[in-house]
């Protein structure tokens, strides 16, 4: 950016925009032109009075006006009263009609100096063909007009010369003659008349009487004296013709005189007398001198030609311009021979036939000396001469540089138009052919334009979109993020690499990756269809998950094998002891087997929690009481170095959650906190009531605005860096050494809380400890005192009939055994095929116990069949893994219950008893 650019940008935001637009329209060509040294102005015809919006440095140096002074004004500020109004009108008319015009106009520089400005104006049009900018180059062609002045000067000079000569003749006529002298060679005396004496500053009387010949040289200017002496010596020695112009100094004033003399010989051809006349030619010399200076300084060569003659009188400068040796007269053929064969000759009208009047033409020559090609112009006037003849007096001058810059300008201007057109076309092509979505959004946030890719990709025509609010097609889940990006754009910043789903006309969604930038008051956006990429990403994620599952499965198989070894080994040992009749230590092996089995059950429970598909036993819960009951356990777990503080708000609401899971979560967090405080510290467990808004729950999957019980676990430990914080809920992510942590702890807590429709917030910074807050939804109403019946024995039945459907023979055997022992009458079936006939029969059934996952008809379907025949039949489902069971309300109808596998025999018995007791009551 030149200094001028900077100045304008600083000054005028319009100019700023214009400059950018010009760069966009003409690109590097504009820069090239601006830097070419050609004066350039750009005006904006769309604005009032077509003001200048840009001038380059060359313009500043041409006119003397700085960019700051010029910008914002109409170009006419360069004009003045002397400017030809008709030419101004001509320019205006040309611009109106063609949008382009070339004209010479008389302008004035800042210092008032006039110059001829050759304007070359082109109009750059916008896409609609309306004038957008006018681009004008300016060239000082005063030289060409000065030459006119020189011609005029030449004419005036010649006139004055003629007048001077006329005056001289008149003076001579009146005086009788110019000063005359007679030099007697033999006697060595000089006799001169009064006028000679006057010219030479001699005493007239003495001159008339005769002076020594040295008087002829006495007043002569020192520079001319020697040459005059030589010339006179020639005359005295017999050279008959004497012609000399020289200076004499009279009273300190220099005068030019012209001496014309003859030498007269005697019969023997010996010189006897040298006489002549002397005239004052000071005026004439001065005019000639001026003429010479004018011609030499202006590089102007003059010539004079009379038709019928083979030669023309020429000036020395004339010869120099053509590369000819200096001469005062040259053959016309020689002069015209240097002219390019395709161009008109310099001297025309040799036949005396030529239109009278001013003549101007331009032509190329090949210089006679160097062979170089130059452009010259000839300007002169043909006048009648004598009878039927023509005189042609004129000048020639070099216009090569003007021609070259004209040519450059022409080429630049022509290519400018072509390039602008090409760029526009190129831009349109990109717009139309792009496979990416391109659009323009106005400052009002509405679509202004959309390219055809919108139709190809999403099915919308431009007409469908224009006027619609941007963002209306964004997927609701992405809408907020999209609006945030839009806010960034409205601030004038660009955005890139933003993915969101866009609604296609057929109702499907495509993933689109957006890049957008604000320009002026509009936002330009490019969107690329990345649906396929997203699909691939999902696949990748899925395969990563599968890999994780593989790892997990391997680990679980290992654990389960250990536990199974404990169970099977224990049972095997019991069987041997029984066979051997050694019943003494049977209990020991059974306890071991039982423990292994319970560990296995706990593991599967945790896994289900992790998969968020566990069957949560959520109910109203007093968080304060639960926490208090854990205090002993926590103190033991934390050790002596960590102090524990429990801080429960007095009026704490009841929460809804699975108490076992919450216990496990608090313990897990406590252990994490301990590990974060290797050198000791304080753990604070607090609970309080909070109200969460949608805004605060933005990151949550299931939580809704409302009242929550917040349980916070705060430590004074090492804290976590942001990159760890980002991943803490990821499964298998652990900061603990290999083998010391499963990486499932926080992930499971997350799963539990999410499933409980709660929310988790982690707040940690390196070195500043960690606070984890668990938000559990408030329970509306009082906490029912749940009677613990764990310790009760299962009630005994009274021969009620229970239909059992279980495909696993071992489980079936177990269930049948329990029923028998508790005094029920069991009917044993393995699947729907066996069960349906019984259900459809008239046989009395008090309870249906069914597995959920069965071959053929599943448990839920069997239940429906049963309810058709026997509405109100109580049903108890057994399940080890039931997706439906996770949300019991949706799965179960009235009179249906569910029990998770594995279950203790006592537990099953109690459930059966409860159901049947309820039925009977």
């Amino acid at each position: 950016m030149t200094e001028a650019d900077a100045a304008i940008r600083h000054q005028d935001p319009e100019a700023d925009r214009a400059l950018d637009a010009l760069h966009a329209l003409a690109g590097p060509l504009f820069d090239a032109l601006v830097k070419s040294g050609v004066a350039v102005t750009v005006t904006d015809p769309r604005r009032d009075d077509d003001p200048i919006v840009y001038v380059n440095a060359a313009f500043e140096s041409l006119t003397g006006y700085s960019a700051r002074e010029a910008v914002g004004r109409n170009c006419r500020f360069l004009q003045d009263a002397a400017t030809d109004r008709e030419m101004v009108a001509f320019i205006a008319e040309g611009l109106r009609r063609d949008g382009a015009v070339t004209a010479d106009i008389l302008n004035r520089r800042r210092d008032g100096a006039p110059f001829w400005n050759r304007l070359n104006i082109t109009t750059l049009r916008d896409a609609d063909g309306a004038p957008a900018y006018r681009f004008a180059t300016q060239a000082d062609v005063t030289g060409e007009y000065t030459d006119e002045v020189v011609v005029e000067q030449l004419r005036v000079s010649r006139q004055r010369l003629a007048e001077a000569q006329e005056r001289l003749r008149v003076a001579q006529a009146i005086a009788g003659a110019a000063g005359a002298w007679e030099w007697d060679i033999a006697a060595g005396t000089l006799v001169a008349d009064v006028r000679f004496a006057n010219l030479y500053g001699l005493d007239p009387v003495e001159a008339a009487q005769g002076l020594p010949t040295s008087a002829f040289f006495a007043p002569v200017h020192a520079d001319d004296r020697l040459r005059l002496k030589i010339a006179v010596a020639g005359a005295l020695n017999g050279a008959e013709v004497f012609t000399r112009d020289y200076r004499v100094v009279r009273n300190g004033v220099v005068h030019w005189v012209s001496a014309r003399g003859r030498t007269y010989l005697d019969d023997n051809d010996n010189p006897v007398r040298f006489s002549g006349v002397l005239a004052d030619i000071t005026d004439q010399k001065r005019v000639e001198e001026q003429l010479l200076v004018a011609q030499t300084a202006g590089g102007v060569g003059s010539f004079e030609y009379l038709s019928g003659y083979g030669t023309a009188d020429v000036s020395e400068q004339f010869c120099q311009l053509l590369g000819l040796r200096p001469a005062t007269s040259l053959p016309v053929r020689t002069i015209n021979a240097v002219v390019h064969p395709d161009d008109p000759p310099i001297i025309q009208g040799r036949d005396g036939q030529h239109v009278f009047g001013p003549a101007f033409h331009e032509f190329r020559i090949r210089r006679a000396d160097t062979g170089e090609e130059r452009w010259l112009a000839s300007r002169g006037e043909y006048r009648p001469h004598g009878t039927g003849g023509v005189s042609f007096i004129g000048v020639i001058y070099d216009i090569t540089s003007t021609k070259r810059s004209e040519e450059q300008l022409r080429v630049l201007t022509e290519t400018l138009e072509v390039r602008v057109a090409a760029r526009t076309q190129e831009r349109d092509r990109v717009w139309n052919l792009s496979r990416d979505l391109l659009h323009v959004i106005g400052p009002d946030g509405l679509y202004r334009a959309a390219n055809p890719a919108w139709r190809t990709l999403l099915g919308y025509d431009e007409a469908d979109l224009v006027g619609k609010p941007a963002g209306s097609l964004v997927h609701p889940d992405d809408h907020q993020a999209a609006m945030e990006r839009f806010t960034v754009l409205s601030r004038g910043e660009a955005i890139g690499d933003f993915d969101c789903r866009m609604l296609a006309k057929d109702g499907t969604y495509l993933w689109v990756n957006w890049t957008a930038m604000p320009e002026g008051d509009a936002i330009y956006g490019i969107g690329r269809d990345v649906t396929q990429r997203k699909a691939l990403e999902d696949q990748l994620r899925q395969s990563q998950k599968m890999e994780a599952v593989g790892q997990l499965t391997g680990g679980l198989a290992h654990d389960f094998n250990n536990m199974l070894t404990g169970i099977l080994g224990g049972i095997d040992m019991v069987r041997r002891r029984i066979a051997e009749g050694r019943m003494g230590d049977v209990d020991r092996f059974l306890d071991a087997a039982m423990q292994s089995g319970q560990r296995a059950a706990a593991l599967t429970h945790r896994l289900l929690a992790f998969s968020r598909r566990q069957t949560l036993d959520s109910r109203a819960l007093d968080v304060g009481a639960l926490t208090a009951s854990m205090e002993d356990l926590l103190r033991r777990t934390l050790g002596e170095q960590v102090s524990l503080r429990i801080d429960i708000a007095p009026d704490l609401w009841p929460a809804v959650a699975d108490d076992n899971q919450l216990e496990s979560a608090i313990l897990n967090l406590g252990i994490n906190a301990r590990d974060a405080m290797p050198d000791g510290g304080e753990l604070i467990i607090a609970a309080r009531n909070v109200h969460l808004t949608d805004r605060e729950l933005a990151d949550s999957d299931h939580a809704e605005a409302g009242d929550y019980v917040a349980i916070s676990v705060t430590d004074t430990g090492t804290g976590m860096p942001p990159e760890v914080l980002q991943k803490v809920f990821d499964p298998f992510y652990t900061t603990k050494p290999l083998g010391q942590g499963t990486g499932l702890g926080l992930s499971m807590i997350y799963g539990f809380i999410q499933q409980s429709r709660g929310h988790v917030v982690i707040d940690s910074a390196e070195g500043e400890g960690t606070t984890i807050q668990l938000f559990l939804p408030r329970h509306q109403g009082a906490v029912e005192a749940v009677a613990s019946i764990d310790d009760e024995f299962a009630p005994v039945g009274a021969g009620e009939t229970v239909l059992v459907i279980e495909d696993d023979a071992a489980v079936r055997l177990l269930v049948m055994q329990v029923l028998e022992e508790l005094g029920y009458q069991g009917i044993e079936t393995a699947d729907g095929r066996q069960a349906v006939p019984i259900l459809e029969s008239s046989r009395h059934i008090d309870l249906l116990i069914s597995d959920v996952g069965l071959p053929g008809l599943n448990g839920r379907q069997l239940a429906e069949i049963a309810r058709e025949r026997r509405p109100g039949l109580p049903i108890l489902f057994m399940t080890g893994y039931a997706k439906q069971a996770a949300d019991q309300a949706a799965f179960l109808e009235g009179g249906m219950e569910i029990i998770g596998k594995p279950f203790a025999i006592e537990q099953l018995g109690r459930r059966i008893g409860e159901i049947l007791r309820r039925e009977t009551s």
Partner: protein, 211 residues
């Protein structure tokens, strides 16, 4: 005109011009006697140029065929003198010097003879006067008429290949008020020019001392 300025300064050129003027005046006097007509000859300027320069000069100024009278001279300075006219002017000169007494056919027959004689008078007077003025003797060969362009006229004899100079003089013939323009060219080698230069210096010294 570097060559020129090195070889002869302004004053020397003036002096040479005057010497030639004295010579052509003698020639004019002789012609007057020969033809009984008013004849005036003058030399307004002299240039010293190379042979190539002379060729260019004459080509630029005279586009047609040229006719020349040639005489070799030898002495303290040696070379070849040429009196050159445009072909178109030579017949006019013949007419002028023969006073129009001859028919066109006779004049054509006599053209070379008349030219040779005129040339002899002019060149002889010129060189003789110069020799006289310079107080050195010169011998002259017989005149010879040649025709051709500049390069042919200025082609010196093969033995002088040192790139000598040409004293190039304009000469105006005013015969019976008719102006005929022509050129006198003196081709000489550098030693001869050097000798001439010495003689001119002597002349200047005498003239300056004179007055």
């Amino acid at each position: 005109m570097t060559t020129q300025s090195i070889l002869l300064d302004d004053l020397e050129r003036d002096a040479l011009t005057e010497l030639v003027n004295i010579g052509v005046s003698r020639a004019a006097a002789n012609l007057r006697k020969m033809v009984g007509e008013q004849v005036l000859l003058s030399v307004p300027a002299v240039e010293v140029v190379t042979r190539e320069g002379a060729t260019t000069l004459i080509r630029e100024r005279e586009s047609g065929e040229l006719v020349a009278v040639r005489q070799d001279f030898a002495g303290v300075f040696s070379g070849r003198a040429l009196l050159i006219f445009p072909q178109s002017n030579s017949m006019a000169l013949v007419h002028a010097v023969t006073g129009g007494a001859l028919s066109v056919a006779d004049a054509a027959d006599m053209e070379d003879e008349a030219l040779a004689e005129t040339g002899n008078v002019v060149l002889n007077s010129c060189l003789a006067t110069m020799a006289n003025m310079l107080q050195r003797p010169l011998t002259m060969s017989l005149p010879e008429v040649i025709r051709g362009d500049g390069s042919k006229l200025f082609h010196l004899s093969p033995e002088s290949s040192d790139g000598g100079v040409v004293l190039f003089l304009y000469i105006n013939f005013a015969i019976n008020d008719r102006d005929i323009r022509g050129y006198i060219a003196m081709l000489m080698d550098l030693p001869s020019l050097h000798a001439l230069k010495g003689l001119i210096a002597d002349f200047i010294e005498r003239v300056v001392g004179d007055a």
